[in-house]
């Protein structure tokens, strides 16, 4: 009997619809204290991002439209469905692609705007959790993606590998950050933060690793096509 219950729970993980959005921490899930902490943590990066954009805008006024299009592009990207390896559909995050195309600091501002629109227009994520989600998806993810991409290019790795790992690991590090954020807000009754972190990581390993692979492959495909231009 109990085993069946466990099975049902396990099945729920695999078949819940719109699963890829599950890494957006939903509205109201984090306690107020952690909402504020992550808002503050994201703030310096946002300021650096705004200053970077501000400086670039002075040199090139056309950039404002381009950034608008880039933001809209990334939003539309996240609304597309990728056929996933496991058969279900998922949505790309665009973290890796965005970081490679626009750079990590620009992505922090774009990411913030995209997350805001996802919360307001699609009900994915939320307003109180905007800081936490920005930190994982618009700051940690893009910086990691960008560093990995540049790192592999520097040691002379092939372009496709750099792109794939950048998108794949960028996605994974985003999930790790989200797990961290959830675990530190909700430490386990026994074992505290560490156990809770492992639990969330376990869940994300099941649901998100196949998606990260799908997105890695797709990003390679897109970058290859774009290089033809």
């Amino acid at each position: 009997m109990r085993k069946i219950e466990l099975m049902i729970i396990f099945m729920l993980f695999l078949f819940t619809p719109e699963i890829s959005y599950s890494m957006h921490i939903m509205e109201g899930f984090l306690p107020l204290k952690w909402c504020v902490i992550w808002d503050l943590a994201a703030l310096p990066f946002i300021i650096v991002g705004a200053m970077t954009i501000g400086k670039k805008l002075k040199e090139n006024p056309k950039l404002k439209m381009l950034l608008g299009f880039a933001g809209a592009f990334a939003f539309v990207l996240s609304a597309l469905k990728i056929p996933s390896v496991t058969g279900s559909c998922s949505h790309p995050t665009g973290v890796g692609l965005g970081a490679i195309l626009f750079g990590p600091f620009t992505m922090s501002i774009l990411g913030l705007i995209i997350l805001l629109f996802q919360a307001l227009l699609l009900a994915h994520g939320g307003i109180t959790t905007l800081g936490a989600n920005t930190f994982s998806m618009a700051i940690v993810g893009p910086i990691a993606s960008y560093a990995i991409f540049k790192g592999i290019k520097k040691v002379g790795g092939p372009n496709w590998l750099a792109v794939f790992l950048s998108a794949f690991l960028g996605d994974l590090l985003t999930y790790v950050t989200t797990s961290f954020q959830l675990a530190i807000a909700f430490p386990a009754e026994r074992g505290g933060f560490a156990v809770s972190f492992l639990k969330f990581m376990g869940i994300f390993a099941i649901t998100q690793v196949p998606l990260a692979i799908s997105e890695g492959l797709l990003t390679v495909l897109v970058i290859n096509l774009l290089m033809e231009y």
Partner: protein, 255 residues
């Protein structure tokens, strides 16, 4: 994008955005402090307002509220299911590889509190997004002096989302009609084409949009005229009364 469509056509769309924002944000902040029963009352109250006053069809609302459920279920279960030292503290447990895995009554308590708070806050967010168009929210953000650069980016992005969404839809349909999504392998290839061509089009369109704005005398600021609307004092009084009742109720329930 159903939320966006309803935000313009619902019965509360003409109400001043400051009133709606005030109501949503005050209630949201209080929800962090409310007890679980008051939070459930907030869920119910927002349902009534959204379905009976704003006249959003209840089927649409229920469909929307189910969107974040996958996250809620997965995360709550992850938090409350634990490895236990002994079976006695557990309400439900099973033995896996010699250890007990289960849920304690504390865990149930946590789950209940967390779920009620989350749902209350989500209801408030839905109230805001379903009744208030983004353009109105931007008007308010402008008045509270959010940096101009950020606001302008929000405005252009919002407008362009629809331009690109349309383009993406047209490309998708054209690919689908040529069997582009008939097999998983085709799907990947098609999506690669779709994304790369959408990117190139975005770039080109952004250049053309700039020209069009320049032709109308654009000098770096996207200045447009703001909407004239007056705040309704009566509505504000009602909002404060509702919050006061909720606060008192929660205080009462805590005793």
């Amino acid at each position: 994008m159903e939320i966006d469509s309803y935000s313009y056509i619902n019965r509360m769309s003409k109400i001043h955005p400051v009133e709606k924002l005030l109501f949503a944000i005050m209630t949201m902040l209080l929800c962090f402090w409310f007890d679980r029963y008051t939070n459930l009352l907030v869920v119910f109250m927002m349902f009534i307002i959204i379905v009976y006053i704003a006249k959003i069809p209840y089927k649409v609302y229920i469909k929307l509220i189910l969107i974040p459920f996958s996250f809620l279920i997965i995360s709550v279960l992850t938090i409350v299911i634990n490895v236990l030292d002994d079976k006695s503290v557990a309400i439900i447990s099973i033995k896996v590889f010699g250890a007990f895995i289960g849920i304690t009554s504390d865990g149930i308590n946590t789950a209940f509190n967390l779920t009620s708070r989350t749902l209350a806050l989500v209801s408030c967010l839905y109230f805001l997004t379903l009744t208030t168009p983004i353009t109105d929210i931007v008007d308010v953000l402008e008045k509270i002096k959010i940096p101009m650069l950020f606001l302008e980016l929000i405005q252009i992005t919002y407008r362009l989302i629809f331009v690109l969404l349309n383009a993406a839809k047209e490309i998708y349909i054209s690919q689908d009609s040529r069997l582009g999504y008939s097999k998983v392998k085709n799907g990947y290839r098609s999506l690669g084409f779709l994304i790369s061509s959408l990117f190139v089009k975005s770039y080109r369109d952004s250049q053309n949009l700039y020209l069009a704005l320049e032709a109308r005398g654009y000098k770096g600021d996207l200045k447009v005229i703001s909407k004239k609307q007056k705040i309704n004092i009566r509505n504000c009084v009602i909002i404060f009364l509702i919050e006061l009742i909720l606060i008192n109720l929660s205080l009462f329930l805590r005793r």
